[in-house]
């Protein structure tokens, strides 16, 4: 089980490294969307500070959506997905490895860039840390939920739009709690309960999503 998981993660990271354009496009999208708001809203520091958590969270959410369609479609097209279904390792474990690789490629860079982008909104330093930590807990949940949608819409024509319609409503709780974490911290209240909620979401998603993704893939590949 473990060698197969390590192999899949290593393979996906290697593929991402050899096709850097895909990751760069997504990161640039994140940077541009997050930078358009201060330009459009105007240089009003209080307003910017208020909208910062929500805008950065929404930008991260949209950016992580961009790469979702590619998550299984390439493996589906070239037959690798069939080999994964027939693997000697449980499909749930392989799927978990694929989601982990997806997060390392398209979630972690967002987390690392968020504090830099938040500087444009004049967010004070303690809040930068809260924002980064909330994204660190939240983006894996986005990858896990998104992967369920990607598996369900595999091989469907116009699957990209359908995927967005399917997944975005499911992202709402993560967005509300994630952006809320920074808001309560800004209001001077303890952000601890919100972090715990995000952590709980992550645990639940990590426990159930691989199983749901595996079932969805078995249906899609028929």
């Amino acid at each position: 089980m473990l060698p197969a998981m390590r192999c899949v993660i290593h393979r996906d990271l290697l593929l991402a490294l050899r096709r850097r354009a895909d990751v760069m496009t997504m990161l640039l999208f994140f940077v541009i969307v997050a930078s358009l708001f201060p330009l459009g809203v105007g240089p009003e520091p209080n307003l910017l500070r208020t909208i910062a958590p929500g805008v950065i969270w929404v930008a991260a959410l949209l950016a992580s959506m961009l790469s979702l369609t590619r998550m299984f479609s390439a493996d589906y097209a070239d037959g690798t997905l069939e080999q994964m279904l027939l693997s000697s390792a449980p499909l749930g474990a392989i799927v978990a490895a694929k989601v982990t690789a997806h997060w390392l490629i398209s979630g972690l860079p967002l987390v690392l860039m968020a504090p830099v982008l938040a500087l444009q909104y004049d967010l004070p330093r303690p809040l930068l840390e809260v924002l980064t930590l909330s994204l660190l807990l939240g983006t894996p949940v986005l990858s896990l939920i998104g992967a369920i949608g990607a598996a369900l819409t595999l091989g469907v024509r116009g699957g990209g739009v359908l995927l967005a319609l399917l997944v975005l409503p499911l992202y709402v709780p993560v967005l509300v709690i994630g952006a809320g974490t920074v808001d309560v911290a800004a209001a001077g209240l303890g952000a601890q309960p919100y972090f715990q909620l995000l952590g709980a979401l992550l645990v639940v998603a990590a426990a159930f999503a691989p199983w749901a993704i595996a079932v969805a893939l078995r249906i899609s590949i028929e």
Partner: protein, 208 residues
């Protein structure tokens, strides 16, 4: 080892075949024959467990393959229509990944030897992007050279896009595997391995 009883496959309102059944023992070679669209690939996918039949069941050593899942995956080596190779990885990286997924332990030296055996010497470090169609097929089939310990091979059109030398090589691999007591199922439109085929299922005669 493998028992298939009363299979029926319906794809898009059309019954491809009905009441297909056979029992395959170790060392036996089964050929699925039939015209294009007669359901050869569907039959092979059902045998692998990728497709759920409308009726009937597939049993491996007495138990339903759907309850075996990855335990069945360990006993099975499937080479499908698609080559399952990645353009951006090198030939040896591709082979190492497919072997790990299939649960076949393969060291760097064994991977190299398998590529040599299929006539891909010198291509180990090349990205698959630059390989020809026939070379990609050879790469997909290279896992046969490493899968000697796997008791069931399911090969969908293994000889397409291959030149005469590669066809010979794959035939030899299959015959060696039968000699080891493993079962092999394959489809072809040519007459390779005709002498070794234990029995042949003609899907044209099973159509409705």
């Amino acid at each position: 080892m493998l028992e298939v009883t009363d299979l029926e496959c319906v794809r898009g309102n059309r019954t491809l075949f009905a009441s297909v059944g056979f029992a395959l023992r170790g060392g036996e070679l089964l050929r699925a024959a039939g015209a294009n669209g007669s359901g050869k690939t569907s039959l092979l996918r059902i045998v692998c467990g990728l497709l759920v039949p409308t009726r009937g069941e597939v049993r491996w050593r007495g138990s339903d393959i759907r309850s075996l899942r990855e335990d069945y995956g360990r006993q099975l080596l499937y080479v499908g229509h698609a080559n399952a190779v990645k353009d951006d990885l090198t030939a040896s990286e591709n082979l190492a990944v497919t072997c790990t997924l299939a649960g076949i332990p393969a060291s760097g030296g064994q991977v190299r030897a398998a590529l040599h055996r299929l006539g891909l010497a010198g291509c180990e470090k090349l990205p698959v992007r630059v390989l020809s169609q026939g070379q990609r097929r050879r790469l997909a089939l290279a896992r046969l050279a490493l899968g000697g310990s796997v008791p069931l091979w399911v090969l969908d059109e293994p000889f397409t896009a291959l030149d005469a030398a590669a066809v010979d090589c794959v035939q030899t691999l299959i015959l060696e595997q039968l000699g080891r007591g493993a079962a092999v199922i394959f489809t072809t439109h040519q007459d390779q391995l005709a002498a070794a085929v234990t029995f042949c299922i003609d899907l044209d005669s099973r159509a409705r």
